[in-house]
Symmetry: none
Subunit: 208 residues, 4 copies
DNA sequence: TATGAATGAGGATTCATTCAT
DNA sequence: TATGAATGAATCCTCATTCAT
């Protein structure tokens, strides 16, 4: 009865979605500008231009909005990583890796506000939020690990402690995002940074 | 008459020091367990087993205790990095680098609770706290950058974009601390991890 | 759409005004009964029958409410003094003066609680509050001084040290309010007291 | 056994008295400078140069010290008023009155700090303190009333409403003390003010 | 559905007073 | 007697959340 897809119901649903999106968008801005802890419900509803009660019609709590924003970003990251063929030949691999890194940086840069939140203070809020971030980090870490293992198996990469190296690489990605996207507000040459990164991890620093 | 350094005065001073240390130690535990924001003054005084007022006899505020703990850790880190001669010959340099990294990991591991706080949620608390952490991170980053520049100047390291690479290396150090000290609670072979790290950054991954 | 002055908005505004007035009225009672310092926010909200937070919805602080009450009274006094033509002929002047004094006593008596606060302990509270009271007292004192000076200029009053005499007269007004309004709770014949006062200051006590 | 007046006991008693006086004197300064409410026990013990606990060996509470200071002043006032022969002939009476007023002003001025406290914020602290001040004011008021009644009985003063006029006169004395002693810090010609006051109350203002 | 006034638990901090030394 | 560290009740104020309209 309630979900009969007539015009009225449909329009209402669309309006609801819109409202929700509006609040979410405003929250994103505010969280990025002021940080999670400093942001109050008052800030959120003022930015969204809705009444305090309205906010709670769409979200259960301050934490809920934050989690939703967080999930958005993590999903974007996941998508930007997915579908990379890490098992291909060495020749094109460098370029592929560079492309992957560029995609990740793009994802971060195109959601600068979100990335800021995640990398500046996402941890330590709430167990739920923490868990999500941790599991995301683990996913990324796993991706790196699997890629490394493949490289070694194919004789393309030299043998190494994959566990440790995956940690190093993940850390360097995280820091690059933090530095270039969060601190320097995305004003950087992604291609250049990505290439420097890939080269560093592949070739090392030692002069030969 | 009253400030003659007799036994009584001396004992009083010692008792004061002890009380202070007791509060500080309790705070460390609580902050590490619950995080800065979630920790209330009530938590701190309950953990320390003192009255609310007593806390304020020794510290100005929650922020003050936190900053003091933070400074402790940052000082430890600083000390563990200082005094490494990054300009010596390549042969011993690897060992020296490994030693440096081991020292840093030791510093982090010996203050596991503190490191947890710093690397889990140090940012976004309070401007003062934030500034300290940022400046510490910058110092470490600078140290890496200077070392790299020296290595290149001496012909020991190949030319590279020092800015980017310093970021990568700093990020990998940070992540190693986070993973091994914070998440895995310090149960790892520091020598091994440090060596894998140094080797990775020097040699890269490519099979030759 | 939302600020169209329709019934709903209007009713809301009215309700707000009412709430505010309710808190103000309760505060007046409590302040008069317990004094400013002894009154806590808890006392105020309990007396008003609202939650602690509600109080802060309408007033910034305890001082703010107090100041508002104070301003009310001072305004009443000011209005009761204003508009007296002190330069007219001696004949009607006595009556005019009596009228003025009666008005002041009326103002005080009709705000007995407020007057109690002001004259019992208004000083030494808070710099802001103090300043208001002092400036009000000065205004009243000035009014007396100017009136005296006019009287002398017109040859209606004998020459005298206007500064000192204005102080004496202001003090006697203050004390009359204190005694009759505050201590005796307004149960007195204002006309009689006012006339006795005017006569005393004009004629003095000496038998002739 | 304990009150045997030997040298030891006597010396101890004297030392006690001295300590007490020292605390009292310091309290007087601080109360006058900062006001009762703003003054903390910390302020008092710091000014007195004794430990917090020591303070409580001599006084029961902050209120107690304050009351004692208050009593001192009231006693001084009482003494300065006492012994005036209000029943003597009219001729010398003016001078006698002037002398009395001068004495009162002297008493106030010589205890400027105390007078400041009493007249600025003595009321509204504590029921005990309030009662003392009220009873003192009543005593002074009574003195004035009796004097007036005597004057009328002797045919020296014209008939008037003694109740009201006593209030007026007491108020003017109070205000003169407040203005000249408290606000202007005692820098005034007491003889002149006293004479202006007596003349005003005896002769009134009307030009004849 | 939208509103925003009302709520009250919970936060940090203060300070008169006590009490072991 | 003198000390001053310790106490904890009490203060003001905030803010996420609820709910009557």
């Amino acid at each position: 009865m309630t979900d009969k897809p007539d015009g009225r119901t449909e329009r209402a649903r669309a309006a609801r979605e819109e409202r929700r999106a509006q609040i979410l968008a405003a929250a994103l801005e505010v969280f990025a500008a002021k940080g999670f802890h400093t942001t109050s419900i008052t800030d959120l509803v003022e930015a969204a231009g809705v009444a305090r009660g309205t906010f709670y019609l769409y979200f259960d709590s301050k934490d809920t909005v934050f989690c939703e924003l967080l999930d958005d970003l993590l999903e974007r990251f996941r998508a930007s990583v997915k579908g990379i063929d890490v098992a291909s030949g060495a020749a094109s691999a460098v370029d592929q890796l560079v492309t992957t890194v560029v995609r990740i940086l793009d994802a971060a840069a195109s959601s600068q506000a979100l990335a800021t939140i995640v990398f500046k203070e996402a941890v330590g809020l709430d167990q739920v939020v923490d868990d999500r971030i941790v599991s995301f980090e683990e996913a990324l870490h796993d991706y790196v690990r699997v890629s490394l293992a493949n490289g070694v198996r194919l004789g393309w990469l030299r043998p190494h402690d994959t566990e440790v190296v995956a940690t190093l690489i993940y850390g360097s990605i995280r820091q690059v995002i933090y530095r270039y996207v969060v601190v320097e507000a995305g004003r950087f040459d992604r291609e250049h940074v990505a290439r420097a990164m890939v080269e560093h991890h592949l070739l090392g620093l030692i002069a030969r």
